[in-house]
């Protein structure tokens, strides 16, 4: 792997994702709203990862394809899988960092309101947030490779809607499985708090993330990048 190119794509993606004023304002409003709800209504930590992920990951690869940026990038000595992993790493860490910062702020405000939030509780919430970010971004990156622009979000929402309708009209367990595929997460308590460790939960999460990234790499390597796009 070209480490230098990997780092360059990660940094460029951070800057690109975090320099869009509208997305940042929406993220701020969501974090503020979730924090307000956590402090005044629920009196417990609330995780904003999923919504932040949907906003910051939208079109992570697809926009580069449709704008024509990717064509120029891929003429450099950069393996496509490296580019893909760099995108996933950059968006996941950005979402996880924002979510963890929000959780930390919630913990401070909850304590100031007399609600006891232990360090362990905050750690477990942050762990769940980071794994949720890595999981849902892997799924969105896969969809983003398949469709251009921000069609990945449309696919993700559409599949969730289908799962919801399936659950409403058919007494099937598929909804749960479907959802755990679309929103893979790893709760600390559910996985490592149990005795013995929940190997099923751990392997289920890791296999979903790995499968998504492998499929995304396969699709990207087979994809023809329009030289004249944009």
């Amino acid at each position: 792997m070209n480490g230098q190119a990997f780092g360059a794509v990660v940094v460029a993606t951070w800057r690109e994702r975090l320099s869009r004023p509208i997305a940042l304002i929406v993220c701020f409003l969501i974090c503020a709203g979730v924090t307000g709800s956590a402090v005044t209504a629920d009196h417990a930590l609330q995780d904003p990862t999923l919504v932040l992920g949907l906003i910051l990951a939208a079109g992570s690869v697809g926009r580069d394809v449709s704008s024509g940026v990717l064509a120029l990038v891929l003429t450099r000595p950069l393996v496509r899988t490296t580019y893909l992993l760099a995108k996933w790493t950059a968006v996941s860490t950005a979402v996880a960092a924002l979510a963890c910062a929000t959780l930390a702020l919630q913990a401070i405000l909850l304590r100031s309101h007399g609600v006891d939030v232990s360090g362990g509780e905050l750690w477990r919430a942050a762990f769940g947030s980071a794994t949720a970010a890595a999981g849902v971004i892997a799924v969105l990156v896969l969809f983003s490779v398949l469709v251009s622009g921000v069609g990945d979000i449309a696919i993700w929402v559409g599949l969730n809607l289908i799962a919801f309708l399936a659950q409403r009209f058919f007494p099937l367990r598929v909804h749960t499985e479907w959802r755990s595929f679309l929103q893979p997460t790893l709760g600390w308590d559910a996985t490592f708090g149990a005795t013995p460790i929940s190997w099923f939960g751990l392997t289920s999460y890791l296999s979903t993330v790995t499968l998504c990234l492998c499929l995304a790499a396969l699709a990207l390597n087979r994809k023809e990048i329009s030289y004249a796009s944009g």
């Binding site: 794509v9 320099s19 024509g68 990048i225």
Partner: protein, 314 residues
């Protein structure tokens, strides 16, 4: 067959929509190391697809491409490749300098050299220093082209693919780009240049391939040693009476040339060699014409875009 050091394209075909639309059909071509090859052709002729295949961004339906003896998407080839797209795409947050630094890193060039390489490349294309730290979204079309050329030159590539490099560039930029191409040619860089600016192509290219309907209809060799019959325009100071056509035709014939057209201050002659030009000029001066200029007629490539010329070339 070209040497492994150049570009070899063998029976390249590319179809879209599962074979329903053919973009390239049986294209074979070699580009020698250090050669500048121009690509011309009408819109939709397949030039874009051809360059996409050369860059390894598109997968050929049939045929084979070798650059330096390797596949175009080989990382070693990519390390030796520079590419300027027709329209430079970029992330909106980037400044010109950051964009260059980003591509310097992607190219795997030493970080210690980054600042110096970036500045040198930007200076080479004439991008003013005060514009280098401005967001690219504020660049004019000409500035974008200069920036695109600068990133293509990073790492001194041995293979350069340029798509309409002078599009939107001011005259000074056009001259600068021409100088850069001349310099690259001197260094042995192999260049594939797609452009509609025929006069520019005539000035810098060794050969020009005319592509139409997905096939190479003709390859025009512009190198002096390869020239066959060519047209020379000779200008002289017009005298009182109109020049005698028969007399001038005889002078031309004596030199081995032939008179094509005649005007009071100039004549168009076909010649086959430099010696014939020298003999023709001597004959004209001996006949009393005050010759002030003799130059090869520009527009050798225009014939491809005139209906009769294109058919004839095919």
């Amino acid at each position: 067959m070209a040497s492994a050091a150049g570009i070899t394209v063998e029976e390249l075909s590319k179809t879209y929509r599962r074979g329903a639309r053919s973009a390239l059909s049986g294209v074979s071509l070699t580009v020698a190391e250090g050669e500048i090859l121009g690509l011309i052709g009408p819109n939709g002729a397949g030039k874009t697809t051809f360059i996409g295949c050369l860059l390894g961004l598109l997968t050929p339906t049939a045929g084979r491409i070798r650059i330096d003896g390797r596949a175009p998407d080989d990382l070693e080839v990519r390390r030796a490749t520079g590419y300027l797209p027709e329209r430079l795409q970029f992330d909106r947050w980037m400044t010109g300098r950051r964009f260059m630094a980003f591509h310097h890193a992607l190219a795997g060039l030493p970080p210690a050299r980054r600042a110096g390489d970036v500045t040198a490349a930007l200076e080479r294309v004439g991008l003013e220093s005060e514009r280098r730290d401005v967001p690219i979204r504020k660049y004019s079309r000409g500035m974008l082209q200069r920036l695109g050329m600068a990133q293509a030159l990073l790492g001194a590539p041995r293979f350069l693919f340029l798509d309409e490099p002078a599009s939107g560039v001011d005259p000074a930029g056009v001259l600068a780009f021409r100088d850069i191409l001349t310099e690259l040619k001197g260094r042995g860089t192999t260049v594939v240049l797609n452009s509609h600016q025929l006069d520019q192509l005539e000035r810098v290219c060794d050969r020009v391939a005319y592509i139409e309907a997905g096939t190479i209809k003709h390859v025009e060799d512009l190198r002096a040693a390869e020239l066959g019959l060519r047209v020379v325009v000779v200008r002289w100071i017009p005298g009182g009476a109109a020049p005698d056509r028969e007399k001038l035709a005889a002078v031309a014939q004596q030199a081995g040339a032939a008179l094509v057209d005649l005007a009071p201050d100039r004549g168009r002659f076909t010649v086959e060699s430099d010696e014939q030009i020298a003999a023709l000029l001597r004959g004209l001066m001996d006949a009393g014409h005050a010759v002030i200029e003799a130059a090869p007629e520009a527009g050798r490539l225009e014939k491809f875009f005139r209906p009769a010329g294109a058919k004839g070339a095919a």
